[in-house]
């Protein structure tokens, strides 16, 4: 019997689970910032400075054929401050709303006379970074968990209550149902964003965990018998209680995927800065290289984006780790000859408050920005939210629904109609992805 994942999710067990949340918002980021912090003593005192001129931008690679395309999603869990990522340094109101923590234009790479990228992202700019501005939802929620759930399930208003994840549905739409894995999350437990109905979607914390499960030769009697028995125990039987069936299903996927892990190509550590994201992307590169059936990889950054305190001291380092990790990852993909297959896209459940909270920190906000690399049109997309016309809670008003962002990935990159993977009628963003 093949277990239908929808049965799992509507089972007694699933009904009893607490709100699933697998992200890491706290943790030691290994990132260190070489960037100086923002001018904390008030933007009014900052002499008009010119941001660094934007460097040359490489032309983006030509996209691979549609059935070879892959997606790598980097989740900046915790709520990334869009206004410290793509800084609206020249926009009306910026110096008022961020009076205590406005970023010195000298710390930016200017994209135009209004907008600049934080300097620690400069290397990504050179790689042809596309930035979607004002991304969010029409009815924001201040809860990490409610908003992560919306992003994971692809439910922009939080009203559709979907049983599968957006990436899981994409995997169902584009993946080979017999593949060992179509979508992978780098981490320790199955991820809600990857919940699917047909396609195998797994989580893998490390490359070496499959060693005991496959590859023993018959003359290694004990190990061979152990592996045979594991495979026997992973054979699903009908009519088992749901808990046992789910455990057995996990064992089955483990036995199957262990073979892929054992055949992974070599690690290429060159240029990777270290940290959860860096380790995750290194593993992702090997997995994408190893098995063409893997179409989607989800990599949680596992850094502390929840900057309720000291945003100026923490955020540039987070961006630096992000940029160095992606930079090394893209070089890694190039050496493996698969760079043209990969679209990199970031997510984060929300941005942060427009005004700081007095501890140089920022509380939970609404709209933020999303970053894309690969075959994309470099530069700004969408419209930046106003800094003077805010919502009733003093928060940014999103200009782009995150479902539009998802729709663009589905339709333009994978050729999957948005209506097949997202609730409602959603239009992709024009000219963002170049195929």
């Amino acid at each position: 019997m093949t277990l239908n994942r929808r049965d799992f999710l509507t089972s007694t067990l699933a009904a009893g689970v607490l709100a699933a949340c697998s992200s890491t918002k706290k943790g030691n980021s290994s990132a260190t910032s070489s960037a100086t912090t923002a001018a904390a003593d008030g933007a009014a005192n900052v002499a008009p400075a010119t941001p660094a001129a934007a460097g040359k931008v490489k032309s983006s690679p030509k996209a691979a054929a549609i059935d070879k395309r892959r997606l790598v999603v980097i989740e900046m869990d915790g709520g990334n401050d869009g206004l410290s990522t793509l800084v609206p340094y020249g926009m009306t109101g910026y110096k008022d709303v961020r009076s205590r923590i406005a970023i010195d234009p000298k710390e930016l790479v200017a994209l135009n006379d209004q907008m600049g990228l934080i300097k620690t992202l400069a290397s990504l700019h050179t790689r042809g970074l596309a930035v979607v501005q004002g991304i969010g939802t029409p009815n924001p929620d201040g809860s990490h968990f409610a908003m992560m759930d919306r992003w994971w399930t692809g439910d922009v208003r939080g009203e559709a209550k979907l049983n599968t994840g957006f990436l899981g549905r994409l995997a169902d739409a584009i993946g080979d149902p017999s593949a060992r894995a179509v979508a992978l999350s780098i981490g320790s437990g199955s991820h809600p964003a990857l919940r699917s109905e047909k396609a195998a979607t797994l989580s893998i914390p490390r490359a070496d965990i499959g060693n005991a499960l496959a590859g023993a030769k018959a003359d290694d009697v004990t190990r061979y018998a152990f592996q045979q028995a594991l495979a026997d125990m992973a054979t699903e039987a009908s009519g088992e209680p749901i808990g046992l069936a789910m455990a057995r299903h996990g064992n089955r996927d483990a036995v199957r995927f262990a073979k892929t892990l054992q055949e992974l190509p070599e690690n290429q550590s060159e240029g990777y800065p270290g940290g959860t994201l860096s380790d995750g992307l290194q593993l992702a590169a090997r997995l994408l290289h190893a098995d063409p059936a893997i179409r989607i990889t989800h990599v949680p950054m596992g850094a502390d984006f929840d900057t309720h305190t000291d945003n100026p001291g923490r955020h540039p380092g987070l961006m630096e780790n992000l940029a160095k990790s992606i930079d090394a990852f893209m070089a890694d993909l190039e050496r493996r000859g698969i760079a043209d297959q990969v679209l990199i896209a970031t997510t984060s459940e929300f941005g942060r408050t427009v005004k700081d909270n007095g501890s140089n920190g920022l509380d939970h906000g609404t709209a933020s920005c999303a970053l894309l690399l690969g075959p994309v049109k470099a530069g700004l997309h969408g419209e930046h939210p106003s800094l003077t016309k805010l919502d009733g809670d003093g928060q940014l008003i999103a200009t782009v629904g995150f479902d539009q962002y998802y729709a663009t990935i589905a339709e333009t990159w994978f050729g999957v109609p948005a209506r097949d993977v997202l609730p409602g009628t959603v239009k992709p963003l024009p000219d963002l992805i170049q195929v």
């Binding site: 697998s22 152990f226 808990g243 995927f257």
Partner: protein
């Protein structure tokens, strides 16, 4: 009705961190009812406080608690300390070790004590003030982090009876009234209240007037959503499923009428007749799996446990976020299954060997698997038949029993 041993094994899995070999059999004579009485009558472990001030306090503290959790007499009280650590959680990655150690003592002292007192104490606890930014919150510039999570996760939930439990204005009011608490990290994380930075006026919060942290917590604990939230989460922790609506209402009423004392609530949840039916319906959390495996394999040294728990995603004092560790099917994922099987194989090289002619029955007993599928039993028997060396066969059977889908369940 399942075998009495299966029921007792279920009781021990849910209320402890084993079972260890033989533990179920020891309790079988009096039957399930007597075993339950014994679990409920268990006393807290006597624990020496950790000695901090070494080079690596974080690792030391993690190991210190793991050793306590692995004690054969760790029972219901310890299981409740773990519950509160996941519910009112703080991470050593952000809070100071000395503060986290003190928070741990707080959870230990109130694990089966009074929920209102626990909520009051945790609100001005040094580790919590560090973890959720209360210590940098002033009335002039209130930080919303703790107040929001107090309502959303710790006490009320987002909705109750279909209506939101709080508004953005309540989040702001809570932040203001909770402000002014400071932690002196140079003085062993001493907590003090600064009138200068604290609230100077009363504010409206959840329809009541509050002037300080104590008021906020009392108002929160008096909300109709509080008792059901705690009762619901505790029921799920022990039963693996949510309670029926009517059952939840009666548990919450018991809890509220009992002055929010925790022990009577836990007793009612475990004495619920459905408890024994809810067997093997949730995964073992990694901490439960690892400790149950070592109850069979024997103790490990040093950092080994931290390493495996880190890969599986559940290191004590390092919750992934403020929601703690979800009770969800995620712990049964393929990645977890691989990690467990590899660990079980590595750890089974030097196990007990038996003269029992039925080696499969022996290993199933030894791992307290008193209900198992034919698939599992047959796979074990087939493997045992292939391995001639008694030593190797015992190792393989240990590794396999710990890798069964049955052993992955609580």
């Amino acid at each position: 009705m399942a075998d009495e041993k299966a029921l007792i094994a279920h009781l021990l899995r849910r209320t402890g961190f084993g079972p260890r070999p033989g533990q179920v059999e020891e309790l079988t004579q009096g039957g399930y009812a007597a075993a339950l009485d014994k679990v409920l009558a268990g006393t807290p472990l006597t624990v020496d406080p950790p000695t901090l001030g070494t080079k690596d306090d974080e690792a030391f503290l993690i190991r210190w608690w793991l050793e306590i959790l692995a004690r054969p007499d760790a029972g219901l009280h310890e299981k409740m300390v773990w519950f509160w650590h996941g519910h009112l959680t703080s991470s050593i990655d952000k809070a100071e070790p000395i503060a986290v150690a003190r928070q741990h003592q707080l959870l230990r002292s109130q694990a089966l004590g009074n929920a209102r007192q626990l909520m009051q104490d945790i609100t001005i606890d040094a580790a919590m003030l560090g973890w959720l930014d209360g210590k940098s919150s002033t009335a002039e510039a209130p930080n919303e982090n703790y107040g929001r999570e107090l309502m959303e996760l710790f006490a009320l939930g987002r909705e109750f009876n279909g209506a939101p439990t709080y508004t953005p204005a309540d989040v702001r009011a809570a932040a203001y009234a909770l402000s002014g608490w400071e932690v002196d990290d140079d003085k062993a994380a001493k907590v003090t209240f600064s009138a200068e930075h604290g609230p100077t006026k009363s504010v409206d919060f959840l329809g009541k007037s509050v002037a300080n942290a104590k008021d906020v917590v009392n108002v929160v604990c008096d909300q109709p959503a509080f008792a059901p939230l705690i009762a619901d989460k505790l029921y799920q922790y022990f039963h693996g499923v949510r309670p029926e609506a009517s059952r939840l209402t009666s548990l919450a009423t018991t809890f509220r009428n009992g002055n929010l004392e925790i022990k009577p609530l836990v007793t009612a949840i475990l004495r619920d007749p459905t408890f024994v039916e809810h067997r093997m319906n949730r995964p073992r959390f990694p901490i439960e799996w690892v400790l149950a495996a070592h109850a069979v394999l024997g103790p490990v040294k040093d950092d080994d446990l931290t390493d495996i728990l880190s890969t599986l995603g559940q290191v004590p004092f390092q919750p992934p976020n403020v929601a703690g560790w979800p009770l969800s099917p995620r712990w049964l994922s393929a990645g977890a299954a691989m990690t467990r099987a590899s660990y079980a194989l590595d750890g089974s090289s030097d196990t007990e060997v038996t003269a029992d002619p039925d080696q499969v029955a022996w290993i199933l007993r030894r791992t307290s698997l008193f209900e198992f599928s034919d698939t599992t039993r047959n796979a074990l028997a087939k493997a045992a038949g292939k391995i001639e060396s008694k030593r190797d066969r015992a190792s393989a059977l240990h590794a396999l029993a710990l890798s069964t889908p049955e052993f992955a369940l609580a």
